[in-house]
């Protein structure tokens, strides 16, 4: 089986002031990668004009593009329309679901969505007390459950989880520990570990670090633009040789 070259980035936070800038940086991406994964926070305010810039920058590439939304893309309550708009532009948008991207006969399965917070084992919120607290934790729990199902149902040679929020603390290093519960949840890692995946891509933690691993041993990469400082990073998933 041939190796797969996965380009990944998150937190591009595009707006009309950045129109054309990102596109310039990803010209020729097909020579370096087979697919581009975008881990949310595509916009700054989640408005339709911003989403149109995102569609322009990411559409019409010679390789498939798979994206999820981030918290910023929800800010104006236009998330559903943004998803439709991006899908119309040919981008595969995952909203707590999976998709198989065929690459030269190799089936790459990607599952995920925005994800959410809650914190990490031993220091996390629990579904207890006020309805607001319970709703917060339940939101993550439901998301993790949908991802687990999506991963299970994926019929693919390689599986990747694409998220905005982080599944582990490792990749948050650099962020103030007080805000960890707003940056991710161990439940996202638990879902991935339960069904297995080759890689877990996320963003959101702009001040975090790139590399981590889930308790079950899945490699985690935080590809937030301010972290990777490149237009995207390429991860090669092993084929017969690499």
């Amino acid at each position: 089986m041939r190796e797969l070259r996965i380009a990944a980035v998150a937190d591009i936070h595009l707006g009309e002031d950045l129109r054309g800038h990102y596109r310039k940086k990803i010209e020729g991406i097909e020579r370096r990668a087979d697919v581009l994964l975008v881990g949310g926070d595509l916009t700054r305010h989640g408005t339709i004009p911003e989403a149109q810039v995102v569609a322009e920058e990411l559409s019409g590439l010679p390789i498939p593009v798979v994206a999820v939304l981030g918290n910023h893309d929800y800010h104006s309550d236009r998330n559903e329309e943004i998803i439709d708009l991006l899908r119309d532009a040919g981008i595969t948008v995952l909203d707590d679901e999976g998709a198989v991207v065929p690459i030269d006969g190799v089936r790459l399965g990607v599952a995920g969505g925005k994800g959410f917070g809650g914190g990490f084992a031993g220091k996390c919120a629990s579904e207890f007390g006020e309805p607001e607290t319970k709703a917060f934790v339940r939101h993550t729990k439901e998301i993790a459950e949908r991802w687990r199902r999506a991963l299970k149902e994926l019929d693919a040679d390689h599986k990747i989880v694409l998220s905005h929020y982080s599944p582990v603390k490792d990749t948050l290093m650099g962020e103030p520990p007080e805000i960890y519960p707003f940056l991710g949840s161990y439940m996202l890692a638990e879902a991935a570990d339960a069904e297995g995946a080759d890689l877990f891509i996320h963003g959101h933690a702009h001040a975090g670090t790139e590399k981590g691993v889930t308790p079950g041993g899945i490699r985690v990469r935080n590809v937030a633009l301010p972290v990777i400082k490149h237009a995207y990073t390429v991860y090669c998933l092993n084929g017969d040789h690499c």
């Binding site: 950045l18 370096r32 080759d198 702009h206 390429v234 090669c236 998933l237 092993n238």
Partner: protein, 81 residues
């Protein structure tokens, strides 16, 4: 004089909630009459907007704009997993 702690909290909230900025990742430190802004932004215009919003939220204080521009480079070396 207002407690620096609350000034910092107010500036940080303004940066997150003001439509001109919506920046969640800016560190705000207040020491006496000085406000320090640290973090990374993607263009000069956004850097100035953050400074403006911070000034409005902390009238009378001196704002030090220590934000750095993230220069998005061409992709580097790939990682083999």
């Amino acid at each position: 004089m207002e407690t620096p702690h609350y000034v910092a909290a107010r500036v940080q909230r303004a940066l997150a909630e003001d439509e001109r900025t919506t920046e969640l990742g800016i560190r705000v430190d207040v020491r006496g009459e000085e406000v320090y802004l640290r973090g990374q932004v993607s263009c000069d215009e956004r850097r100035h907007q953050i400074e403006n919003v911070a000034r409005e939220a902390a009238p009378g204080l001196r704002v030090h704009n220590e934000l750095t521009l993230v220069e998005v480079r061409e992709p580097g070396e790939e990682e083999h997993l």
